[in-house]
C-alpha cells in the first residue's frame, strides 16, 4: 500500500511517500503499526486530533476500512485558498 505524508507530517517522518506492507484492516490499525516503527513515526502520529487522513484521495475518518485501498495519505488540516 502506498502511504503519503504532507506538510509537517512529511517533515516529521522525513519522507513524502513510501510503500508499506501491512495487513491493517482500518486506518487506525495502520496508524498503530506505523507508531510502533520508530520514534519519528510515534512523534508524527502522537496527536490524531491534529491529523486528517484520505484513503484513495477521499477524506475519511480514522475508523475507515482499508479493504481494497491503494493509497493512504496523512496530513494536517488543509489551509488552501
Amino acid at each position: 500500500m502506498r502511504v503519503l505524508y504532507f506538510a509537517w507530517v512529511r517533515e516529521r517522518i522525513g519522507l513524502p511517500r513510501e510503500e508499506v506492507e501491512t495487513s491493517a484492516q482500518t486506518v487506525a490499525e495502520l496508524v498503530a503499526e506505523l507508531r510502533g516503527r520508530e520514534e519519528r513515526y510515534a512523534l508524527a502520529f502522537s496527536d490524531l486530533s491534529a491529523l486528517r487522513v484520505a484513503v484513495d484521495q477521499e477524506v475519511v475518518g480514522f475508523d475507515a476500512s482499508l479493504t481494497a485501498a491503494r493509497e493512504v495519505a496523512f496530513f494536517p488540516p488543509m489551509t488552501g485558498g
Binding site: 503519503l4 504532507f6 506538510a7 509537517w8 512529511r10 484520505a54 484521495q57 477524506v59 495519505a73 496530513f75 494536517p76 488540516p77 488543509m78 489551509t79 488552501g80 485558498g81
Partner: protein, 150 residues
C-alpha cells in the same frame, strides 16, 4: 479546463475574457483573488511555500465546482490554484463565477472559496527571518464552510 493547479502565475483579465468570450447572456462576473499577505507582525514574511496533494487536489476542486454548479445557475466557473514558492504579494488562487444574476455569482464565489479553504489539500508554510512555520487551519474557515450546510 475550468480547474487548474499550477506553479505559474495567472492573468485575471485574460481568464475573465476567456469565460465571457462570444457570449451575450452573462450578466455578472465575480472574481476572487487570494494573495500572499505579510501579516505585518514582528517578523517580515520572506516567502510562502504551498504544498499540495497532486491528483487529490484536482479531484477536490472538481467536486467543489460541481457542487457550486448544482446550487446556482452558473454559466461559467474557473478555479486556478497555485503551488510552490510564492513571494509576498503574489497571487495564490483565483475563483471566477459567471451568472445571469449578481446574487448567484457572488454567493457561488463565496461558497467556492469557503469550501476550497477547508477541502482542497493545500498546506502553507511561511518563512520569516526566524525560520519556517506551517500555517494553522483557522476555525473561522470551518465556520464559514458550515454555514452552507444549514
Amino acid at each position: 479546463m475550468s480547474v487548474r493547479v499550477q506553479e505559474d502565475d495567472f492573468d485575471i483579465g485574460a481568464e475573465i475574457d476567456a469565460l465571457c468570450e462570444g457570449r451575450v447572456d452573462i450578466g455578472a462576473v465575480v472574481s476572487f483573488t487570494g494573495l500572499v499577505r505579510d501579516m505585518g507582525g514582528g517578523a517580515q514574511l520572506s516567502s510562502m511555500a504551498l504544498e499540495h496533494y497532486p491528483g487529490m487536489t484536482e479531484r477536490a476542486l472538481e467536486t467543489i465546482e460541481a457542487e457550486a454548479r448544482a446550487r446556482w445557475p452558473l454559466q461559467g466557473v474557473t478555479i486556478i490554484h497555485r503551488y510552490g514558492e510564492l513571494a509576498p504579494g503574489a497571487r495564490i488562487v483565483l475563483v471566477l463565477t459567471a451568472s445571469p444574476h449578481r446574487a448567484a455569482a457572488f454567493e457561488a464565489a463565496e461558497f467556492l472559496m469557503d469550501y476550497l479553504k477547508t477541502r482542497a489539500p493545500f498546506w502553507k508554510k511561511e518563512t520569516t527571518e526566524h525560520g519556517g512555520h506551517w500555517v494553522d487551519a483557522r476555525e473561522a474557515d470551518d465556520l464559514a464552510e458550515e454555514r452552507w450546510r444549514q
